[in-house]
């Protein structure tokens, strides 16, 4: 048996297989004439493992044989090869979360009454898992439903110090006027201080502008 050659074959086989190989499988790779016995194979594997000292990989013996695997101390960095696409929360999730934020403490039934539809248990579960909401008590009615409230993590996530930094509901009504993508044509600068009347004005302005543009063309 040529040790160096055996080591080359063993290393190549382990890495080509990308899985654990048993001593028997490794030994099958060799012709009878230069087939290493198990002790020799173990010796070669030991040398191979030692040669991985200080590298990104290591040799490991598991129940199903020997395998080469990525070292733990770089595994996390290597895991970035498989970035997961960040999922998105559904409309319903956002609504439930916002209701809890604004109307806490309240029960699921109360959320349902505000939204007018049943709340999917998974939605609440997700928010719990995210540690954005918590059970702050129980309402003393039959069934003792949980009262839900937001957490400090919730505030931290949105960069809020206190809950009352959220704008009051009255200001929310004009939110769409503050979001250029939602409604406004271009002039974000049009000072709108809220109210549906103002919104009506803007639509007219927009129409007028379009007319002007049309006239220019003609």
């Amino acid at each position: 048996m040529n040790t160096e050659y055996t080591r080359k074959v063993v290393e190549a086989a382990l890495l080509a297989a990308g899985r654990s190989l048993t001593l028997a499988e490794l030994s099958q790779l060799f012709d009878a004439v230069d087939r290493p016995d198990n002790d020799q194979l173990r010796g070669v594997l030991e040398e191979l493992g030692a040669s991985y000292e200080g590298r990104g990989i290591e040799l490991l013996e598991t129940a199903s044989g020997f395998r080469v695997q990525v070292r733990r101390d770089v595994a996390e960095q290597v895991a970035r090869l498989w970035p997961e696409r960040p999922p998105r929360y559904s409309r319903a999730q956002l609504e439930v979360l916002s209701i809890i934020a604004y109307r806490q403490p309240l029960t699921r039934a109360e959320i349902e009454s505000i939204r007018g539809v049943a709340v999917n248990p998974n939605i609440v579960k997700t928010l719990f898992e995210r540690e954005w909401i918590r059970v702050v008590g129980h309402r003393e009615v039959p069934g003792r439903p949980e009262l839900l409230g937001t957490t400090r993590d919730f505030l931290d996530y949105f960069g809020l110090k206190r809950l009352d930094q959220l704008p009051p509901l009255a200001d929310l009504k004009t939110l769409e006027q503050l979001d250029p993508q939602l409604l406004l044509p271009e002039p974000i600068g049009v000072a709108v201080d809220g109210g549906d009347a103002a919104a009506g004005d803007i639509v007219e302005v927009a129409v007028a502008q379009t007319d002007t543009a049309a006239n220019d063309v003609g």
Partner: protein, 307 residues
């Protein structure tokens, strides 16, 4: 054409063409007689008329640029005749080539202008020679391509296992704006359809209600005054007081005073007074126990804005 090819003589490729009656057919027959069983295999071995012509030329160590067209045409047509006689399914291209060769042969017989420096262009063989060379280049290129070390045969991409791959779960991102828009929409809908109006309560009271509730335990009373943090100032105290009143109104809190001027105590409404299924009761206690750890954090939280 190449020394290598010429040296090999008639051998087309090194591997056996096929097995004929159990015998590997490694060489092309040297004469025109081909055992009938081998004829089909023989035909299959050629990649068309150009390939067959090249074989005939190579077999005689001839230079591709100086093909004795009469002789090659004779041999070629003999092969074609044999194939036709055997009623083998002969590709039409073979017959076209036979015609082409015949045409070249007849043109070769015609007298040609042989002025020095020209005339070679007019060689009737020129086009055939070009095609033969062109085909031979790719025949050679195919062989060289086949010789390149390739995946699955000569090499494999090395891979190692990741061990237990830590799942890095990416959580969805929300902007505050998305959240606000969501609530705005809900609120608008609720105003339109719901029987009750959404009160404009200061959020600080709502938040304080959650906080107070989570500090209280149904089994033990908490001293009323401990709900207040003097460092919050008058506004903080007022918010807490309104929150306590609101909790009281919603029946979430009970207040007890043993006698006049004695300390006031509050506690969450006692669950034992409600009919509760046992299983869920233990669950509730666990949750409450966990929640008891929250107030300290929340108090710190409240201090921050005042600094």
């Amino acid at each position: 054409m190449s020394m290598e090819m010429q040296g090999e003589g008639a051998v087309q490729v090194e591997m056996p063409f096929a097995m004929v009656l159990g015998e590997p057919l490694t060489e092309m027959p040297r004469d025109l007689y081909i055992p009938p069983q081998a004829m089909e295999v023989f035909l299959d071995a050629f990649e068309g008329p150009l390939d067959l012509l090249l074989y005939l030329i190579r077999r005689q160590n001839l230079n591709i640029l100086d093909i004795p067209i009469a002789e090659i045409t004779r041999q070629y047509t003999q092969y074609i005749d044999v194939m036709t006689e055997m009623q083998l399914d002969l590709a039409g291209e073979y017959l076209v080539m036979a015609a082409t060769l015949a045409e070249i042969k007849s043109r070769m017989l015609l007298p040609r202008a042989t002025a020095p420096g020209e005339g070679l262009e007019d060689d009737p063989r020129a086009e055939l020679v070009r095609r033969l060379q062109e085909y031979e280049r790719f025949k050679q290129a195919a062989q060289r391509l086949d010789d390149l070390p390739r995946l699955e045969r000569d090499t494999w991409v090395a891979s190692a296992e990741m061990g237990e791959r830590r799942v890095v779960r990416v959580l969805p991102d929300i902007t505050l704006k998305e959240l606000l828009i969501a609530f705005r929409d809900v609120a608008l809908r609720a105003e339109m359809f719901a029987h009750h109006h959404i009160h404009r309560e200061p959020l600080s009271v709502r938040a304080r209600m959650s906080d107070i509730l989570s500090t209280l335990h149904p089994e033990t009373f908490t001293e009323f005054t401990r709900l207040f943090l003097p460092e919050e100032g008058r506004m903080g105290v007022a918010v807490t007081f309104v929150a306590v009143l609101e909790l009281l109104r919603e029946g979430l809190l009970e207040i007890a005073q043993v006698e006049a001027y004695a300390p006031i105590h509050v506690r969450a409404v006692d669950p034992s007074r409600s009919r509760v299924i046992e299983g869920s009761a233990t669950e509730v206690e666990d949750t409450d126990a966990r929640l008891l750890e929250q107030p300290a954090l929340e108090e710190q939280d409240d201090e921050e804005p005042l600094e």
